[in-house]
Amino acid sequence: MSVHEQLLNQLDNPAAKTKIAAEFKGYIRDHLRETSYAEAVLPPQTVDKSECQVSVNHDSLVKIENLEPGSRAMVVNFRGQPRANFIRGQRVAVPFLTIMSDMFEKPEQEFLAYSYPIGKVLEQNCVKDIGEIQDREFTIHIESAVQALQAEANGGAVTALNATALAGGAPPVEFSVVKGELARTAATDTGVVLPIQRPDVVSLMKLLDGNRLESDLLLMTSVDWDDILQWTSEDNGDKVQSETVVNGYKYNLLLGKRYVRTIKTDILRPGNVYAFTSPDFLGRFYVLNNIKFYIDKVINLIKFVAWKDIGMSIVNIASVRKLELYSGDATSADTDSILSQVTPKAESDLGAQNNRAGAGEFFPQTVTF
């Protein structure tokens, strides 16, 4: 019996039809959903309220984090004495907040109109949606961290960092943000993303390695990652070059560093590559309450929502650095008006739909009446 005949036979079998529907997923998917990249950079730790502190002024929770105290040594003569060092350890408070999905609702009768478990699909997707907001918050914090150090290094003021400024007589200091080689030499200051070069990765790593820290992990979009496949034999060597042309880049390390790549290009915008130290130099990511679901039915209306309580903080802002693959200025000065292209989109604009079926764009087009 041919495969085609087998399929036709199966379609006559009610039990097999259920299996076939499951294989076809029952619906056309719109876009890939990915786990949180923030959790890959800063592995979350579960905490409970006993580890948190409260305020006398409000009912929010924080967790106090201790920072490493400063110390030094010195040469002292036989008759000399050391400098006094009154011990003082710094602390910061890691605040907690809630990330919540939409409240989904539908009358139970209308669920019957769907041939696949739409509620279950939404339940699974909203967990990923919560992860996306986590990533958005994380991206905003790491960007704030690099820009704060960048401003400090440039006399305490936000200083435009673009190709024009770098080519000028008094270029800004690239302390925590560095431009890529192609971006640095671009003729105009724009948000156009240029391919990542091997020297760019090295320049990024040196921003950390030159400050008594060690770069441990790189974060970039898949779009920027794809440009690594354009590196030549000069960059890769013949062996890796011949492998990548067939299999792509399959190694876990890039220039000796771990990497995380993401398809969430509406959160981590293409052209932005970050380098991090190991997590114990960087910050903290706490989970106070992992994903919780609430589902209720009032008469015939079913509704459900999911939420998660997290605390996230970049405690040591010197432990993250940034590579920009575009020539324009991405500081808050927004000299070249590209900030909206290179910073995370608004929450309400995330996960925009790819399909246009709702607008009648699917083919072939038929009219049912």
Binding site: N57, H58, D59, S60, V62, A93, F96, L97, G311
Partner: protein, 158 residues
């Protein structure tokens, strides 16, 4: 804790009976309890949406536009971390507030205005006063003289 902190209380209904929305603020300094740049928000102040869809402190100049009551306590860390404020956007409710000024009358209409009173720190805040030309935000139900200095009102913007 200043004496004017945590002095806005919704008496009826419970919060799940109201439409509560958490929205971005235009100026995050409003959420810093120790800000010297702007007067930090307290609960009971009125906020409005600006042209970018973010919340700003209400003003007398915009009395003709809807305004919404802030329910966040000053200094709440999740508010600072998330850079958002929760406001009541719908549903009738009965509440006590210290963010009022003027001489409200029993059953009298109330409007939003920029007011200044020692009760909430002698700084300009967006609160309630007897209505003259602005949008009616509510009606006085219990006067401060018999309510421990707090004006009890029923919210009318539905």
């Amino acid at each position: 804790m200043a004496i004017y902190d945590r002095q806005f209380e919704i008496l009826r209904p419970t919060l799940d009976g109201l439409l509560m929305a958490t929205e971005d603020v235009a100026d995050v300094n409003l959420l810093d309890p120790t800000s010297s740049t702007v007067v930090p928000l307290i609960d009971g102040e009125l906020l409005q949406f600006d042209a970018t869809g973010k919340l700003v402190r209400g003003t007398t100049a915009n009395q003709g536009q809807p305004a919404f009551f802030n329910v966040e306590w000053r200094g709440a860390t999740e508010v600072q971390a998330g850079r958002k404020v929760t406001v009541v956007m719908g549903g009738t409710f009965l509440a006590d507030t210290i963010v009022w000024a003027g001489a409200p009358t029993l059953g009298g209409e109330l409007e939003m205005a920029t007011i200044n009173n020692a009760r909430f720190g002698t700084v300009d805040r967006a609160g309630l006063q007897p209505q003259s030309s602005g949008l009616v935000m509510g009606y006085a139900i219990k006067l401060p003289a018999i309510n421990g200095g707090r004006l009890q009102f029923i919210q009318a913007l539905v």
